[in-house]
């Protein structure tokens, strides 16, 4: 290890400051004794004790000593570095030293507060102080890393989370690229009928926002597009986006929809209509889609499959014609400073629970199918009917917790399904007043403003609530009453009896799941996702928007199941986090980073896949590895892993930690035959 910037170790002049913290420390630790003892360490120039080191007088003491006594390193033994490391680094800097020439010994939280044994506490304090001294002499000056923030932002996912974030940022004058992989933005909210608990029409509140996105001068909307690659780091990301061919030229198309009308072929719409309705082969997912341009589904298009048809092109009234069968995917490279991921959720595949009969018993529906059915713009124009599309059900059962709160599938609670199951009950009461509704639930989870009141309303509307998780749904009738019905078998746990409830229709409320590709997405964006596939936030309470990777933020259901109000709050919060970075222009990053001594690297590549952030690159030409400083988060995993020992973790170097270990064990050395502590 070469020390180029610091004086040779023996010339270091360390100042040691032991804090009483009123009596918090001195009650148990012999502060004076420790201070005096520390003078014996050959590196120590001066050792003092003081009542309150963090007070301005305490800080001045340090500054003065640096200036007057020519101190080169500072040790403060007081509280946790999580408390005052910043304070004393500043004092060190004010004294004229690099702020990293400082080390803190925690003799309060880790010592005086955990024992009443004065002798032991004093001994431990000495060890901690000595360790800090032995460490600090190896400290190197470090500079915080300034990073300029590109003011453009990428938002991935155009659900209500992405839309909200995009509008917030764009309204503040920042440019946004909004990438959505479906032909239209809107996400799941666009599929819903009414939204709980106030029952506003989903389209009525969403459409205006979608239109705003469409017209906003600061938003570049890229639908039918996907991110393929992300390079760079906070402030300077380069993102590669594939804009899939629509086969419709956006510049010419007026969105008149004649092509859709004229296309002679229809297929079942598995995405937007959740399989409940059909769409043409050239289509817009729904009438209010944004953007308005249709897209050709090449897999089903007769022209693409068989080479004839072209009806859409024939009838397109624009000049020049807007249909272009030769169109190709476009690859775009975007430069952005920050990224917000708002990729939302998927629904649990209810076929994984065969005893609920979905796919086998025709009148078992999923919640999303029911939403489409209840939607006035949906396939049945809002009529609630069985699969035959004629018969109104006389009895409906709604099954809660399908795939949620279940160790066999997902352990977590999906949070929104109790509420929307109540909403469904209400919609049925409203449209089919004579129909009986049974909600089978384990616990009714309605925490939220106005939510419990909504539950209360449903109780009064006459919904039959059965507390019990449905065991199975069958068409195996055992009595006359059950003949021709779906039988919901469940224990009514409040009376302790198994019941068989014959109904005409069953609605399953499946778990909210992470997107099936969320692992890939998290790797693409070099951040983490949890076991269930939801993106991991930096802190579950105090930083639910940021991720462990600087410059990448998350919002909405991609972070965990949530309803629209929570999603909107996160979308706006993510936008404000990005906005504050943009307004700073340049941010300083902690210099705790790894670096590789290229000359000594053996090129074994072991470190390459150690790094959780993929911050280590192998340079083929030179046959060595290199740390991309801006991506490195300073965990030190690679440092510990390198068999050649050529990676240095700044501020946590091997020599610093090894010296700290020895300093810590100062009182044990004489027990050992061989004196350790040789420089490595």
């Amino acid at each position: 290890m070469t020390d180029t910037k610091s004086p040779p170790i023996h010339e270091e002049k360390v100042g040691v400051y032991i804090c009483h913290c009123g009596t918090n420390i001195s009650k148990v630790v012999d502060v004076e004794g420790v201070a005096k003892w520390a003078e014996n360490n050959p590196h120590v120039e001066i050792s003092r004790e003081y009542k309150f080191m963090c007070s301005s007088l305490g800080q001045e003491l340090i500054e003065q000593d640096i200036k007057e006594k020519g101190l080169t390193k500072i040790v403060v033994a007081s509280c946790s570095p999580h408390m005052h490391e910043g304070t004393f680094r500043t004092a060190t800097e004010n004294g004229g030293l690099n702020p990293f020439m400082f080390e803190m010994a925690n003799i309060r939280e880790h010592d005086s507060w955990i024992t009443d044994d004065e002798e032991a506490a004093t001994q431990k304090a000495k060890a901690l102080v000595n360790a800090a001294i032995e460490r600090v002499v190896h400290h190197q000056p470090l500079e915080e890393i300034p990073v300029e923030i590109n003011p453009n932002t990428l938002i991935v996912g155009g659900g209500i989370a992405g839309i909200t974030a995009a509008l917030e940022l764009a309204n503040g004058g920042n440019h946004v690229y909004l990438v959505e992989r479906e032909p239209s933005i809107g996400g799941h909210m666009a599929q819903l009928d009414k939204t709980f608990p106030t029952l506003d029409c989903s389209a009525c509140i969403l459409t205006p926002k979608m239109v705003d996105v469409d017209h906003h001068p600061n938003i570049t909307l890229l639908t039918w597009s996907e991110v393929e690659k992300m390079d760079g780091y906070m402030g300077n990301f380069e993102v590669t986006v594939r804009k899939k061919a629509r086969y419709v030229i956006e510049e010419h198309c007026t969105g008149c929809g004649i092509c859709i009308e004229k296309c002679p072929f229809e297929v079942v719409d598995e995405v937007f209509e959740a399989g409940m309705g059909k769409r043409k082969v050239i289509y817009r997912p729904f009438p209010q889609a944004v953007p308005k341009y249709p897209v050709i589904d090449t897999e089903n298009c007769v022209y693409f499959q068989k080479g004839t048809c072209k009806a859409c092109q024939k009838f397109c009234p624009t000049e020049p014609n807007s249909i272009d069968f030769e169109q190709e995917d476009e690859i775009l490279k975007l430069q952005v400073g920050n990224i917000i991921l708002a990729t939302g959720y998927e629904l649990f595949d209810v076929k994984r629970i065969p005893q609920y009969g979905y796919g086998q018993l025709e009148n078992v529906f999923t919640s999303l199918e029911f939403e489409r059915m209840a939607n006035a713009a949906g396939p049945t124009e809002g009529k609630i009917v069985l699969r035959d599309l004629k018969t109104a059900p006389e009895k409906v059962a709604i099954v809660h917790c399908v795939g949620s709160r279940d160790e066999n599938y997902h352990k977590y609670c999906s949070k929104v399904c109790c509420m929307y199951s109540l909403k469904f009950a209400h919609l049925i009461h409203e449209r089919l007043p004579d129909t009986e509704v049974y909600n089978c639930y384990i616990d009714m989870r309605t925490p939220g403003k106005g939510y419990e009141e909504f539950y209360d309303r449903l109780l009064k509307e006459g919904t039959n609530f059965i507390r019990g998780k449905v065991a199975e749904i069958t068409d195996s009738a055992r009595t006359e009453e059950e003949e021709g019905k779906l039988i919901v078998q469940v224990e009514d746990t409040l009376i302790g009896r198994q019941r068989r409830v014959p109904v005409d229709m069953v609605i399953l409320s499946p778990a909210i799941e992470a997107q099936p590709d969320s692992k890939d997405i998290s790797q693409l964006f070099k951040m983490g996702c949890d076991f269930d596939g939801f993106f991991i936030e930096r802190h579950p309470k105090l930083d639910p928007i940021a991720t462990m990777t600087e410059g990448i933020f998350i919002a909405g259901a991609c972070q965990g199941p949530k309803d629209v109000p929570d999603t909107v709050a996160q979308g706006a919060a993510a936008a404000s986090r990005v906005a504050s970075l943009i307004s700073l222009g340049t941010v300083m990053m902690e210099p705790i980073r790894a670096s590789i001594d290229k000359d000594a690297c053996s090129g074994c590549k072991i470190c390459n896949n150690m790094c959780p952030y993929n911050a280590i690159e192998f340079i083929e030409e030179e046959g060595v590895s290199e740390v991309i400083t801006a991506l490195c988060q300073g965990c030190g995993t690679c440092v510990a892993a390198c068999p050649s020992g050529v990676i240095t973790g700044a501020h946590f170097t091997n020599v610093q930690i090894l010296s700290q270990i020895e300093g810590l064990l100062w009182d044990m050395q004489d027990l050992e035959a061989v004196p350790a502590g040789k420089e490595k």
Binding site: T115, Q633, A640, P643
Partner: protein
């Protein structure tokens, strides 16, 4: 201090979880064995086996490595790498006759102050029962050769 043997345990505590757990134990004034001497590392994944060996060599009777629970690592999965390294290291240590109790790995989140304190107490008791390590007699047989640090495979 009483006359009984007081083992010295060097603790490598991860900055995000276990170090904070130790802070919390202090803030909550939980009383536990002062035998643990903590060193802060950014991540349990930073704990190089040579640190553990150095601590034992320099007179520690035990080493505690503590990090975030699996799945909660601040750096995605550094703790899993620590675990892997730890298991390898244990193999070597047991070949040298070093008892299992002396080197332990622990998951403690920032809120688990009491848990950490209890673990430190337990470990202190366990090592107290074993007695001092006497590394040089035990491992080197007095010949001064330095064992090769265990590396990732």
């Amino acid at each position: 201090m009483s006359d009984q043997f007081e083992p010295i345990i060097v603790g490598f505590l991860c900055n995000w979880c276990s170090y904070r757990a130790a802070d919390l134990a202090g803030t909550a004034r939980i009383k536990y064995a002062p035998n643990l001497r903590p060193i802060r590392v950014m991540c349990s994944g930073r704990v190089d086996p040579q640190f553990v060996l150095q601590a034992l060599r320099s007179g520690a009777d035990g080493v505690l490595i503590a990090g975030c629970h699996p799945g909660e690592c601040h750096y995605v999965n550094g703790n899993i790498k620590a675990l892997r390294r730890f298991l390898l290291l244990k193999k070597t240590l047991s070949q040298w006759g070093i008892e299992d109790e002396r080197v332990q790995l622990l998951w403690a989140s920032a809120s688990e102050g009491i848990f950490l304190a209890e673990k430190v107490n337990k470990m202190t008791e366990e090592i107290r029962a074993l007695g001092p390590l006497h590394w040089h007699d035990k491992v080197l047989g007095g010949n001064g050769a330095i064992p090769i640090p265990v590396k990732e495979v």
